[in-house]
């Protein structure tokens, strides 16, 4: 099962989350990967940890979004997946 939140448009970010039993993986695409990739990944890891997500697959398509947008999109996708019964 997969749920997503956000859009791949400027200043937004598209987050796709799939459930599963395998340890959590995060895939990140961003036009500013070299400059901010580590910071974006760290913010995503923090938010997922705060939500208790330890398994599943997270794909992030960043379009130069601010941190608050990334966190909101992750929260929305996780919430939507859990509401549908996804195991994550």
């Amino acid at each position: 099962m997969e749920r997503q939140a956000g859009q791949a448009v400027k200043q937004d970010t598209l987050v796709r989350i799939s459930d599963g039993d395998a340890p959590l993986t995060i895939e990140l695409e961003s036009p500013v990967l070299g400059l901010f990739g580590r910071a974006i990944r760290r913010a995503a890891e923090e938010e997922l940890a705060r939500l208790g997500v330890r398994t599943g697959r997270v794909r992030i398509e960043d379009c130069q979004a601010l941190d608050f947008v990334l966190r909101a999109r992750i929260r929305a996708a996780v919430k939507a997946l859990r509401e549908e019964g996804g195991r994550i």
Binding site: K10, D67, A77, A80
Partner: protein, 293 residues
């Protein structure tokens, strides 16, 4: 507040830029500007914007989803813990609906350790029943701070074509402004949807101001300057208010004459209101002209 700029709740770009345009207040919208399949993510985005201080809880409200949707409780449960303190309630129609929302707010405040009745309400009256019940709604909760008029839904329900004519809205505007004044609420006028008609916007805003509204909701940043100007007292109005208060200060009760008319209590109250609208509360306490230190 003279100008309330609406901002779609699922647009990061607009949420980031909206506070920069100079409106007195923002309304982040979860209702009409958000598609049904995006409601959940918009709710999270708006909540996070407040939680991280992208918008200020002191000058930004959130328009929640309508009482008939079943989404408004979820909206409140995410927004209030994130720091939202002003809620704009669409399609307000009766005291029972307000009491239901207030019960949910009371529970959410308790559960999150927030002082009771911290969250305030701006009621949007946009149906014929809501307009007719403007007086019945007043006093139904101490949380209510203002009424807003929503002309689009009102016109659709009554069968009025919302054109550029001003007179069709005189009745609902007058009723709402009068009811708001009765309870000491603010009154915020409806949006002007014709973005290519700034003269029409100015005329529409002037009409609302003449009928007792203190500000207007907006859908584009280009409308802010016009609306702020029209809902601000002019220099002449300020001078006149000051002269009236100066005359009142020396008349020692009763009535006096100034500005070619009788100066009595209603005139004094009006002058004080003009100074407050201009943010010149300092002048309310000043001694008459010539006696200033």
């Amino acid at each position: 507040m003279r100008s309330w700029l609406y901002c779609p709740g699922n647009s990061p770009k607009m949420i980031i830029s909206a506070p920069l345009y100079g409106a007195d207040g923002l309304v982040l919208d979860l209702e009409d500007s958000v598609a049904d399949d995006r409601k959940g993510e918009a709710r999270q985005l708006v909540a996070q914007a407040f939680a991280e201080g992208i918008v200020s809880a002191e000058s930004a409200a959130v328009r929640i989803n309508g009482p008939d949707t079943g989404l408004w409780v979820k909206d409140l449960e995410e927004l209030i813990p994130a720091g939202v303190r002003m809620i704009r309630v669409p399609k307000t129609e009766d005291p029972e609906g307000i009491r239901e929302i207030c019960a949910a707010l009371g529970r959410i405040e308790r559960e999150n350790g927030i002082e009771a009745e911290t969250v305030t309400l701006q009621c949007i009256l946009e149906t014929p029943l809501g307009v007719e019940n403007a007086f019945a709604l007043g006093g139904s909760s101490p949380r209510i701070r203002s009424y807003s008029f929503g002309a689009e839904d009102y016109c659709a329900a009554v069968g009025i074509s919302r054109g550029r004519e001003l007179f069709p809205l005189d009745y609902p505007r007058s009723r709402i402004a009068s009811a708001a004044a009765s309870f000491g609420y603010g009154a915020c006028d409806t949006v002007w949807g014709f973005l290519d008609d700034p003269e029409g916007l100015a005329a529409d805003a002037r009409r609302a101001a003449q009928l007792g509204f203190e500000g207007k909701s907006l859908i584009h940043p280009d409308q802010i300057e016009t609306v702020n100007r029209i809902f601000s007292p002019s220099g002449e109005e300020l001078s006149k208010a000051r002269r009236i208060l100066d005359a009142a200060a020396v008349m020692n009760g009763g009535a006096a004459a100034a500005e070619g008319r009788m100066i009595d209590r209603p005139v004094i109250l009006r002058a004080e209101k003009v100074l407050r609208a201009a943010g010149r509360t300092d002048l309310l306490k000043k001694k008459p002209l010539g006696q200033d230190p």
